[in-house]
Structure formats: C-alpha cells, structure tokens
C-alpha cells in the first residue's frame, strides 16, 4: 500500500496555515452531532479531550489510572521547549525546527517538525493562561534554561516538575469539561481492542478494571494517546502501568507501526542496584547544565570519588565533544557512558555507572542556587540511593526512556485506518531517530491542543449526517467476544510463573540485543529467544483469580503478552535498518571514531510495518523522507 503522508504543498513556513484553510470544517452547531473517543489522559490525550470538548464535540475519555491526573506525563521533570527567543540568543522557529530535525538524525518529516516549532510558541501562551506556575525572573517575566542538543536557552520549566504542572493544567481543563458534560470520563478502564468496520475505526472495547466488565464504545473517530512502549525493556523510566496494548491492538487490526526500533536510552538515570529492581529513576537532563560527567581514568577504580584527584578523572563528554560538552544530545551521551563502562572505567561498587558531579557548580554558584534549581531532584536521589549529592557526586547510567517509534500517522495525525488518530508519544512522531530533551512535552501538547482539534474536522466533516456504527453491529460483538476469550485464556493457563517473571526476561533480551548497541547476530538471536519465551509464556503463565473483578496480575499479563509481539517487531525493524542513526546504533555501521553512520541513500525512509500474524515477519511499507530545507549532514557535536 502506498503511504501518503498528505504533506501540504507550498513553502515550509506556510504549509500549516494553508492546510488549515484548505481543510473541511465542522460548524459549531454541528459538532454536538459527533462523538470522539480519546484513549489516555496524558498531555496529548488530556489536552485533546479538553479542547475537543470545549469545541462542542461529544467526547468519551478513558484512562487505566484511578484519576486522569496520573498519566505518566506527570513525571516529566526538566521542561518544555518553545521558540520564543526570550533570551535574545538567536532562537527562532526555524532554529527549533532545524535543531529537532538534526537532533532526530534526519529521520523525521520536515513539514511536521516545522509545524511543531511554530506551535511551540502557542503552547507556552496557553499554559501560562491556565495558570501553570512556570519559573519566573524577578521582574515577572518567564525564565528559561538550556537543554541538550541546542545552543540556545529555550526551555520553560516549573522547578523539576514541569511535566506535573503541564499535566495538571491539561487535567484541570479536562475536568472543567467533565463538569460541563461535554466529556464523559472513564477512569480505571483499559482499552483492549480497536473495532474496525468497513475499513474504518469505529470504536473500542474496554475492560472496567474494577468490575471486570467488558464494554463496547462506538464513535465517529478514535484518538489513541496512550503513550510510549519503553516498558518493553521492563526496566525503564516509565511508570509501571505504561504499556503498548492500545496501540498494539490497533496494529493487529491493521494500523501500521512505524520505526519501532527507534527507542531512546536516557543518559542520566540512577544505576540498577539489584535483581528486585522494578523501575529506573530518571535524573533530569537539566542537571547536565551544571553537573559535569566524569569517570575514573583507570579501570576497576575503587577509591571514593572525593579521593580521586583531578588529574586522574576523565571528563569524557567534555573531552570528546568540546563545543557541546556535557550537553550533547541523549543518544550521544548514552553511548559515551556505555563505552566507558563497557571498557571497565565504571564507578560504584559494581562499576556500572559514571559520576555526575556538582562540586564545581556549588563553588561557582553556591549551594542555595543549586538547591533552588535542582532541590527536588537532589532529594529524590538521596531518598533512593541514601547518598547526599550535595556532598558526593551522583552515580548515573543510561536507561530506556522514550519511544520515538509508534503508530504511523499522516500530517493530520491519522493512521492508515480512516477514523483512527494517534497523538503524542503513541504516534511515530516528529522526533525521528532521537528526541531532544524538553521536546516530548512540546509534542504531546502540540498534538493535543492544536494539531488534532484542527485536523480531525477534515475527517469528521465527511461523516456529517451519519450515526456512529451501533455497538450491536457484528464488528463490536466479535471484538468483544475476542476480548472475553483472551481474558479467559490468560487466567486459564494456570502455569508456574508470574507475568513479571516473563516481563523481566523479555526486558533483559531487548536491553542486551536491541538496546544501546545492536548487531545482526544479536538481533537474530533475540528474535529466536523472544519467540521461545513467548511460547513458554502462553503455556506457563500463572494468574491467581479470574477476570470478573479487580485483578492486577491479569492486567499485567495482558500487557506483557503484547510486549512480546512488539519486542519481536523492534528487533526485526532494527535488523532491517542497516545503518546507525540517533538512538539506533548498529555496530556494523559506525565512523572510525565510533559515531553513528547513517545511510541516507538507502534508509532515509520511515519503516511502517503491517501485522501478518503472531511470530510471522511483518510486511514493510516505506515512506520516503524528503529534505528540502534541512540538508542531511553527518551530525557533529564536537
């Protein structure tokens, strides 16, 4: 099938405005005739549901958490980028566009990224109007900080809790619509299937996680804003509940999954301390503004950091990348840390991390300033590790953090299935092969507040006068039955091991072979191992209790089952992409000094995969990427 991204014609800077003018609209008095389902209440889903409700559509919003406020956007720490140029340091929409394309290693769409950079400015206005307590200068103006991959200061922040504050802004706007009756909110409901009739997405099947009831909901359009899939790695910075089920179920019903191997490993997380570990905690990238990353210059170092003299430390990021120093993009910083640890220079009792040291900044700025900038992060670090980062350097190591890949969407954020829209981290998005820091919040809110509410009308307008497909239609009956059978199957296995047992093993395979460095040999091995493990899962899974009520083991098992299928596709995609770019590093393809080596001639495309059955190689569809403005160059941060 030909993938048409529907990129509007005309000059880059005019595409979005022209497109909005040329698109069909739904008049205010007609909007109440349309119903829209939104899955997820994070920045993208919360913002979309609130805005669509405000516009007059009938919205049904679903989240698996107990409150819409708890979606994992809430945990984003550092900030949100916007091309406001408040710091007068040469920023512009074009520069944010350019930085994002380059940061993504030339694997994203120019038109989408330019639109994102344009909208970034409206987001800040919108959020400030909602009362998001952004950091301020003494005169009352908004403050900014720097983030990786940019040489300007364009990141807006609310202490180390920017995601929390933006999420609460969206949540509050959403709850206002709930009160007004335009949004019907269903918490503790999980989407377990997409319903497709006549080639269109017409609704969803959800399970009420409290009662176990399986329900059908139909609508004129379905929006998936269900987040990313980095929990495939088991240990990640994601929340325990983050999962791929909503998007994977849609994929199984025909929606293409794009660039699944593009996953981001974040450089600054607290290293693993034992087998029981349930998640990894991120230490915000903003810390690299004032923290210096170093490790010992000899292998097997056992001295305390304070006892290692300056001359025996290796500030490896500053050494290798003098112009960006500690603020190189995430993929570059992660690989550099992996290299020193793999080579035996790691620090800590099990030599599995590097130092992030604030002692110079403390001397230069004083403890009070450091406390003001990073106080909550330092506290969090101290709570988890028992060490005081004001006195001793933090120990950090990369961890799975974000999924650039996701369901394929066109310029309107619609998937290849008409009526199915995908927003935020759940789509394959605007970040190419690597996302820059403080750009996830920007993209989630751009999609939710501005893009989707504008583009969804073009699709709805065609359906004016037609009612949504009835939930008594065979398509709903069959999908509901399939969900019930699957639940019954999972609880009926009655084997030996918990879902977590399998999830941990799957995560280990993906981390070892489809993590920061990948090879043909490793990926092939991983595909075999995942297949075997998946078969064992379906034979030996153990769940206590049934599907008739609140059952967290069952919830987890369903999600792990989908991670198996996704994990295999991640490996197949990584195997197919015979180049290195951004977060995807194939050891066979690197420059003499170990940097990612792209192959623009053969791989400047989006790999969109079509489901072909469990355990079967999927069908590849390519969307060629054109670069008219930002010409691909070897990415250098030296």
């Amino acid at each position: 099938m030909e993938l048409d991204a529907k990129i509007p014609a005309g000059p880059l800077a005019e595409k979005w405005d022209n497109h909005k003018f040329n698109s069909k609209l739904v008049a205010p008095q007609n909007r109440r005739k349309f119903s829209i389902i939104v899955i997820g209440t994070g920045l993208a889903g919360g913002a979309a549901a609130a805005t669509l409700g405000e516009m007059g559509y009938n919205v049904k919003s679903f989240c698996f958490q107990d409150s819409a406020r708890r979606a994992h956007s809430i945990a984003a720490q550092g900030g949100i980028n916007a091309a406001k140029n408040y710091k007068n340091d040469g920023d512009s929409v074009y520069r944010l566009f350019y930085d994002t394309i380059k940061g993504g290693d030339y694997r994203s769409r120019e038109a989408n990224v330019y639109r994102l950079a344009q909208i970034s400015r409206n987001i800040i206005d919108q959020c400030a109007a909602q009362g998001v307590p952004f950091a301020r200068e003494y005169g009352g103006l908004l403050d900014n900080r720097s983030f990786g991959g940019a040489q300007v200061s364009r990141t807006f922040y609310a202490r180390g809790q920017t995601g929390q504050q933006l999420e609460l802004g969206a949540y509050q706007a959403l709850m206002r619509q709930v009160e007004l009756g335009s949004v019907e909110l269903h918490t503790r409901h999980e989407m377990l299937d997409l319903v497709v009739a006549g080639g269109r997405a017409v609704g969803v099947i959800v399970r009420d996680l409290v009662t176990g009831e399986v329900q059908s909901h139909s609508a004129h359009a379905v929006v998936l804003a269900s987040g990313g899939y980095n929990n495939a790695f088991y240990l990640s910075t994601g929340a325990k509940g983050c999962n791929v089920t909503a998007t994977w179920r849609a994929h199984r019903k025909g929606a293409y999954f794009a660039n699944p191997c593009f996953t981001q490993i974040h450089p600054t997380c607290i290293p693993v301390s034992g087998d029981y570990q349930s998640k990894l905690t991120l230490m915000s990238e903003s810390l690299r503004n004032d923290g210096r990353v170093w490790t010992a210059s000899v292998t097997g170092e056992t001295r305390e950091p304070g006892d290692i003299p300056e001359a025996e430390r290796d500030y490896f990021l500053e050494r290798r990348y003098p112009s960006f120093g500690n603020l190189v993009p995430r993929d570059v910083a992660s690989r550099a840390a992996k290299k020193v640890v793999d080579d035996g220079f790691g620090v800590g009792t099990i030599h599995n991390g590097v130092y992030l040291d604030f002692s110079d900044a403390m001397k230069r700025l004083g403890r009070a300033t450091i406390e003001q900038r990073y106080g909550n992060l330092f506290d969090m670090y101290a709570k988890i590790t028992g060490d005081d980062p004001y006195k001793t350097p933090m120990r950090i190591y990369p961890a799975a953090h974000y999924a650039m890949g996701g369901l394929w969407v066109d310029y309107n954020l619609m998937s290849n299935l008409p009526g199915l829209f995908v927003a935020g981290e759940a789509n394959f998005s605007d970040h190419g092969a690597n996302r820059l820091g403080a750009s996830a919040l920007m993209q989630g809110l751009a999609d939710g507040y501005f893009v989707l509410p504008a583009t969804i009308a073009g699709e709805l307008a065609n359906q004016l006068g037609s009612a949504p497909v009835s939930t008594s239609d065979p398509a709903f009956r069959e999908a509901e039955e399939a969900v019930r059978e699957r639940v019954a199957h999972l609880v009926g296995i009655k084997g030996e091991h918990s879902a977590d047992h399998y999830h941990r093993k799957l995560g280990r395979i993906l981390w070892d072979y489809c993590g920061m460095a990948r090879t043909t040999e490793g990926l092939t091995k991983a595909i075999d191992e995942i297949g075997e493990l998946r078969e064992d899962f379906w034979k030996n899974l153990k769940i206590i209790g049934d599907g008739a009520g609140f059952n967290q083991s069952l919830e987890r098992a369903g999600r792990v089952a989908d991670f198996f299928e996704l994990g295999e596709l991640m490996c197949r995609d990584a195997l197919n992409r015979e180049e290195s770019c951004g977060g995807h590093f194939r050891e066979e393809h690197q420059t003499p000094d170990g940097e990612a080596l792209r192959d623009d001639e053969n791989f400047a495309y989006v790999a969109a995969w079509e489901f072909a059955g469990v355990g079967k190689p999927e069908t590849l569809h390519k969307e060629q990427l054109e670069f008219e403005y930002a010409h691909p160059t070897q990415r250098s941060y030296k």
Binding site: A50, T51, E54, Q65, D66, S67, A68, R69, R70, H72, I74, A75, K84, I124, D125, Q126, C127, A128, A129, Q130, G131, P133, R136, G140, L141, L142, R159, Q161, Q164, Q165, L168, Q172, A173, M175, R176, E179, L180, T187, A239, K240, S273, G274, Y276, Q277, S278, K279, T281, K383, I384, G386, Y449, P453, S498, D500, H501, I544, G545, G549, F550, S553
Partner: protein, 262 residues
C-alpha cells in the same frame, strides 16, 4: 544487607467485605528495595503459594503520580517525612520488625480491594472549580502577564500537591482541607486566577464539604504530606472563602454563570 520482616497486611475482597489482617513473613529483603518492591517480592511469594497477591495502587514509582500510598505502622506513607510509599526504602527498617500495612481509611475513599481505594472525590473537587477557564487558542502572549517571582513561587509550592490522599488518611476527621487549599491557593494567588477567584473557592469548598469531614486544625495532614504542602494554604483558603461569602451575592452568581459558559 538483608532483612527478615513480619508483615500484617489488610486484605479485603471488595467494598462490602469485612476485611481482616493477614500475616506474612518477608525474608531476604534487600535494604536497597523500595517499600513497593518489597511488596512485589511478597506478591511473587504469595503467587508461588497459590495465594492471591496483595492489590495496591502504584504507577510512576518516583513519587510524583500520587497513585501509591498505604498506611505503614499507623502513618500514611510511613515513617519518613516528605516521602511517598514508593520512595520509602527498606533501609529505614530493621530486621525482625513487624510492619502493619493498611489502606487509606476515610469515609470519602471507599475500599476497592485490599490496599486500593477510590479517590474519585478529589476529582469532584477539582471539576467544581479547580481550574482557570482558558479555552484553547484564546491565550495572549505569555509575557504580557507579569507574575512576580515570589507569587510564582507560592503558586508552585501549592501546585506541588500530588493528590495522593495521605492528608485525608491522616486526618482524624477525614477532612480534605490540605488538598483543596493547595489547588485553591495555586490558582487564587496568580493574576490569571483572579476573574474566577471567589467563585472558585466557594464552589470547591462547598463540594469538599459534601464528601469530606471538617477541619479542626490537628495539622496531621501537613505532617504526612509527601509534597510538603503547608498548613498556611488552609488559612489562605479560609480567608478567601470568608471574603467570598461577604462579596455581593449577585456579582458572585454572575461570575459562576460566566465560568459555566451560560
């Protein structure tokens, strides 16, 4: 270092079940584990004995989502100040300790199962007025509204609330003043929040009163709050509530109408 612990955990099948404590042994608990990781280990153990795992709410496990929260030895979120259950680590316990684990207990938070409660009443408070009406697209350039740094800092201190419900669980009256006042204060101190200031506080406090008990200034809420929300915000909310009551009733009603888009 490994710990051996005795756990007394509240088990309850559903809202109408009576519930009871069950005792479990938790051995070889690594002191670097978080409290929830310790519960994960106990759950694996229960599964291997064909017993139903303990249900508990949790998600981000980094202290920000507000999902988790159990009463540990009588204190919501356990012994450490300004710490959520997921951020509480086992190094603060001793081998041989007996630890009692219970759900939030409050009339407004019915138990769903074991340690899981329904905190939907918090959402009701927010939807009754915990927002600034700012439909998407209509916002002016952000820097046209100056917010003095000191005001932004107070707003942020209040906005840091994670909505976990520990304040209610700690309160002998099951009151939600700390939660409600944090949101009222966040929005009512900001210039952007002024147009709806009086309607907001009236509506949120009245909604709160329909679900929760009354505040009698015990201060237990502040002591257990993982986000460090100050009692001062309750004073601020009470002052605004009182002021709102003395405002011209007609202008107040008009404000409510405008807020509702009528």
């Amino acid at each position: 270092m490994n710990l051996s612990l005795t756990l007394k955990v509240w088990r309850q099948n559903g809202p109408s079940d009576e519930g009871r404590f069950e005792t479990y042994q938790a051995n070889e608990i690594n002191d670097h584990m978080s409290f929830l990781e310790m519960l994960d280990v106990v759950n694996e153990q229960l599964l291997s004995e064909n017993k139903e795992p303990i249900a508990f709410d949790h998600d981000c496990r980094e202290g920000i989502c507000g999902s988790c929260g159990v009463v540990i030895n009588g204190t919501p979120h356990g012994p450490n100040a300004a710490t959520t259950t997921c951020q509480l680590h086992m190094r603060y316990f001793k081998s041989g300790d007996t630890i009692t684990v219970e759900p939030w207990r409050a009339r407004a938070f019915p138990i769903i199962k074991d340690l899981v409660v329904d905190r939907g009443a918090f959402d009701k408070i927010i939807q009754s007025g915990g927002f600034i009406t700012a439909p998407t697209g209509g916002a002016q350039e952000a820097n046209l509204t100056l917010v003095p740094k000191s005001v932004a800092d107070i707003a942020m201190d209040a906005a840091a609330c994670i909505g976990c419900g520990a304040c209610v669980a700690a309160c002998p009256n099951g009151a939600a003043q700390l939660f409600t006042s944090a949101k009222v204060s966040h929005l009512n101190v900001l210039p952007q929040g002024q147009p709806e200031r009086w309607a907001r506080v009236t509506s949120m406090v009245d909604t709160m009163e329909t679900y929760f008990g009354s505040c009698t200034n015990f201060g237990e809420c502040e002591a257990v709050c993982p986000a460090g929300i100050s009692l001062d915000f309750i004073a601020r909310m009470n002052r605004d509530y009182l002021k709102a009551k003395f405002k011209d009733r007609r202008s107040q009603i008009r404000q409510v109408d405008v807020a509702d888009g009528a």
